[in-house]
């Protein structure tokens, strides 16, 4: 019975909002060390699928398995502890705190120090160093002391990615990480994702619209349409499918 479990698996995962089925019986396995791109038109249910996996939303039906363990009814922080991490499509930061403090809080959570009441946070040098290391990676270190709400949108997007990198989970879910970034910032983020991918223990789920990005990064593409998983396979093969061509790429034709 020593079957290897996929790191992440969803079985018949479903959620209904009233009469509208936003995610419809999605069954899918994700293997260690792979990067899967999730594509589909706006409103297809990509973000909602992420919400079900990371726990922000409770499924109406189906299960989510992490390393073979059923986590469907676990709370968000417990799933985070188990190794699911996520960056959000709509920037979702700690607005009144500094950039460094945002990242430090993630590092602190990971070090399990949140309930330490009697030491001075600023004295935990190792946490600050780790935070600065991540900020240097995403090229935000020169903004470290700024308050997040005063940051330009592109830098907020970078910080959003920085928080996930600082968390360093087994499963990383990026929801349109480069949307709203200027052209010269995009490669920084893509290089980071590529670097994460080279670490064979990590599994990456990436919602992305830009086909060239997907081609260069993805090992596999799955297509969601009206909440249903309609295609799944190698990038070249999936991109060639008629349903993808018309439903999704129709609006953004590729210059091959």
């Amino acid at each position: 019975m020593a079957t290897e479990h996929s790191i992440l698996e969803t079985r018949d995962l479903t959620v209904r909002f009233g009469g509208h089925v936003a995610v419809d019986r999605v069954s899918c396995r994700f293997e260690r060390g792979t990067l899967t791109a999730i594509v589909g038109p706006n409103g297809a249910g990509k973000t909602t699928y992420f919400n079900l996996v990371s726990g922000q939303l409770r499924a109406t039906g189906g299960t989510v398995l992490l390393n073979g363990e059923d986590i469907t009814s676990m709370s968000v922080p417990r799933r985070t502890e188990r190794g699911i991490g996520r960056a959000f499509q709509l920037t979702n930061l700690f607005p009144t705190l500094s950039v460094r403090e945002n990242v430090r809080l993630v590092v602190q959570s990971r070090a399990n120090k949140g309930f330490d009441l009697f030491s001075v946070a600023a004295c935990h040098v190792e946490l600050l160093e780790r935070a600065d290391h991540v900020l240097a990676e995403v090229r935000l270190i020169d903004q470290a002391d700024r308050i997040v709400s005063a940051l330009p949108h592109g830098d907020q997007r970078k910080l959003e990615v920085a928080l996930l990198i600082a968390l360093g989970p087994q499963v990383l879910m990026f929801d349109e990480p480069t949307a709203g970034m200027s052209v010269d910032e995009v490669p920084v983020i893509l290089d980071l994702i590529r670097k994460l991918k080279s670490d064979m223990d990590r599994t990456i789920l990436l919602v992305e619209h830009k086909m060239d990005v997907i081609r260069s990064l993805a090992d596999r593409i799955i297509v969601l349409h009206n909440g249903e998983l309609v295609a799944d396979g190698e990038p070249a093969e999936v991109i060639a499918l008629p349903i993808v061509q018309e439903a999704y790429l129709g609006k953004a034709p590729e210059a091959a």
């Binding site: 990371s54 985070t80 700690f94 959570s109 330490d116 009697f118």
Partner: protein, 357 residues
Amino acid sequence: MLTRLLSGDTPRSGILTVFLLLILISLAFAPFLFPGTKSLETAARICIFIVLVASYDLLLGYAGIVSFAHTMFFGIGAYGTALALSATGAGYFPLVWGTVAGAIVAAIFALAIGLFSLRVKAIFFAMVTLAVASAFAVLVSQLSWLTGGEDGLNYRIPRELTPAFKLIGGKVFGVTVNGKVLAYYLVFVASLVLFLIMLRIVNSPFGSTLKAVRDNAFRAEAIGYRVVWYRTTATVLSAVMAALAGSLLAIWLRYTGPATTLSMEIMIDILLMVVIGGMGTLYGAVLGVTLFILAQTYLQDFMGVAAEATSSVPLVSALVAPERWLLWLGVLFVLSVYFFPTGIVGRLRERARASGR
């Protein structure tokens, strides 16, 4: 050393440092600098309210939780000490166990309210605290066989803390060092220690997490923090601190009643003091409390003088008549919120940052 004592949270503004030092020195030497019963009463009230308001700021300013039950916890502490002293007579033992019991009961109440209602919407928590606090106030006034009802409790405290006790025969700087002065120093030192403990808590990893929860609870969960536990712990800590402040008041006044501890008026005063001083910074509590209590205590006197001086000018003298002190306090409050939306401390720090660049 000093930075350690302040948990690295220095005032970060020259003017603020001056104000804080001024307040600290005035309170530390109050019996000698401002002799007289009224000024000593005022100084002790300021000390106790600094603890009370700082503990409320821990909840409102740091954790972003709105509670109307803070006076209930204040009252639980005061009644704990008062009941113990009334039951067993003056002594240090009942004083200590009454205080400890009050703090424990406050913690249990806070834990129950927190676990029951912090999972859901913030407004629900606020409503629950309002309901529980009102019910508690009614209960205290109904159980008059135990609590003395509306009349409250008068009791004796250890003789060393009463005016009848003389520490030394002569006078020090023209002031008799009696038990009342000792009681003042008990209040002062206890308040200082409690304040420094709270300063440590808000600057700890736990305190930093509270700010994250306040800013964005949704994201705090997504990075692994169990938000309900953080909120509940903050509620419990804040309740215990408020209860200890209540015990200090009970010891200082030798009287505990609904009007001095449980009234809605005190709850509103606490809110005003937090907002005037500046939310989310404990130094704000120090400034807010000092200004507010000084205004509350001396505005009437000051206006009396002003009214006399302007008695020949009809409209002005009517405006500054001592009966209008509450109106002016209200005006002061509105002005301070309008001009310092981040509170006095927030404003001073902004200035310091701007001039530092």
